[in-house]
């Protein structure tokens, strides 16, 4: 195997060389604790502040509204629990296709006595604003909706939902882990009160993320300890990680627009190429309102894991829509919520493109996938699956 093509950027991305270079000193020379008052500590504090400024500018927020965390999952937990616990009870609105970091947090809140409405989505994975409106109750305390889904990339109407939430005085949390640094986000214009974002999806390091918290939003902390992050998130700051996240954001601000145009064309080239060569395929997700680099393609009557294996053996990294664990296979809950029939959902394969993806890579994937699917289909028992 010589050629290697990585099309799993929604799972993680390689650290950008500029990001890595900026981080390196903070593992060595600048090792101080940002809470320390001496020079070593002040140097680290300065670096954290620069990163905070960069993130705030990028989101059209203020620096003191940015809290750094250890990952998207922590940010989602902090956002949803922080809002709910600060209010003590009531009703939360979310959707059926949220990341597990939000879904399972909401389930945990239900166990604590909160009511939760899980909104449906249409066949493109889109939430209907009217469903949000209908779900509102006098005791609704929070709405948590993802900006885009990691599996299918459908971009939700968060601006419209934000306007509705603001009009009703309901706190609005957005899980933007899959869109931060890929599409424009303006927390002011979108009326977002809390927003989760992560570093390693945008060529930053793993283990660092953040939560935007609009000034004045009633919140409680989830993690207790020291006075870090303005007493909102205890724990010594991950200085090299935060520096890396700040730099990654700076690079994204520079590259995002052009890359979105390029990746949209490449993802469409992938879909058109596959569709032209392979019968019985469908695109899952919204045809246009979609994260630039995401293409979720379903191959009817084929098990996605065998396609992933076949492509892996060709040096191509994609991800399976269904997961077989210990002999039990579950179709993706996202595709189920979208009403994708089982014979399609079981064969869903996600390709997520990134800054290193080229047209040649896409053509190689298109050439490689056709014989794999043809062979797998040739093995099918007649009338099976």
């Amino acid at each position: 195997m010589s050629r290697r093509v990585y099309l799993d950027h929604n799972a993680s991305t390689p650290v950008h060389p500029e990001v890595l270079a900026e981080m390196v000193p903070y593992f060595g020379d600048v090792f101080g604790n940002p809470s320390s008052v001496h020079g070593f500590g002040r140097a680290a504090r300065e670096a954290v502040d620069v990163a905070r400024d960069r993130v705030a500018t990028f989101l059209c927020a203020r620096p003191d509204e940015i809290v750094f965390t250890s990952g998207g999952t922590e940010s989602d937990n902090f956002g949803v629990k922080g809002l709910a616990w600060a209010r003590g009870g009531g009703h939360v609105i979310t959707s059926k296709i949220e990341h597990h970091a939000v879904l399972r947090t909401c389930q945990a809140l239900e166990a604590q006595g909160f009511d939760v409405t899980y909104l449906p989505v249409d066949e493109t994975g889109m939430i209907d604003l009217d469903d949000v409106r209908r779900a509102l109750r006098p005791d609704t305390i929070a709405i948590s909706i993802m900006h885009a889904n990691s599996e299918v990339g459908t971009i939700q109407p968060v601006r419209a939902i934000g306007a509705l939430a603001r009009e009703r005085g309901i706190a609005f949390h957005v899980d933007a882990v899959q869109t931060f640094g890929k599409v424009e986000i303006d927390v002011e214009a979108f009326n977002i009160d809390l927003l989760s974002f992560s570093g390693h999806k945008i060529y930053g390091p793993k283990g660092v993320a953040g939560l935007y918290i609009r000034k004045g939003t009633k919140m409680v902390s989830v993690q207790h300890g020291g006075e870090h992050e303005r007493r909102r998130r205890a724990g010594t700051e991950n200085v090299p990680g935060i520096v890396g996240l700040g730099k990654a954001v700076e690079v994204r601000a520079r590259e995002m627009k052009d890359e979105a145009v390029r990746l949209t064309a490449l993802r469409d080239r992938l879909w058109e190429g596959v569709r032209a060569r392979v019968p019985d395929v469908r695109l899952n997700g919204h045809p246009t309102e979609r994260v630039p680099g995401t293409a979720n393609i379903a191959y009817k009557n084929v098990e996605s894991e065998s396609i992933v294996l076949g492509l892996d053996l060709k040096g191509i990294a994609v991800s399976a829509g269904s997961a077989c664990t210990a002999g039990s296979v579950e179709p993706s809950y996202v595709l189920v919520a979208m009403g994708v029939p089982l014979e399609w959902a079981m064969g869903a394969v996600r390709a997520s493109l990134g800054r290193s993806t080229t047209a040649e890579d896409i053509d190689y994937v298109v050439e490689s996938v056709e014989p794999i699917v043809r062979k797998l289909r040739a093995a099918l028992p007649v009338g099976a699956a």
């Binding site: 098990e303 065998s306 002999g327 296979v329 093995a379 028992p381």
Partner: protein, 124 residues
Amino acid sequence: MRYSPTLIEHFLNPRNMGLMRDPDGTGEDEFEGCGDLARMFLRLQDGRAAEVRFQSYGCGPTIAAASAASELIAGRAVEELVNLKAREVEDALDGLPDDRKHAAEVVAGAVRAAALDALRRRGA
């Protein structure tokens, strides 16, 4: 790679794949909860598996297991095949990860069903 080179080789170049017309015995097995399915076809000569073919739906290891089993059982007496153990199929693949053991089980189940079918037809 979490799979053995033997498994990968069978997955890439499956042997004896496809339908057999007028077999002497056919059987299938499905792994519940997973949906993986194997169907085996046997043609006998002097009570032994002279020709074996398979069809399958499932993850890579299941396809590889069916291919390996089609070679493993060739020439064996049908009475012997009604007791084929999943362990033998797994060994023919040089092992399976714990969460993919079902690949060998579903294929061994299909072989046993095909052998039973052959015995039934012979007795009829």
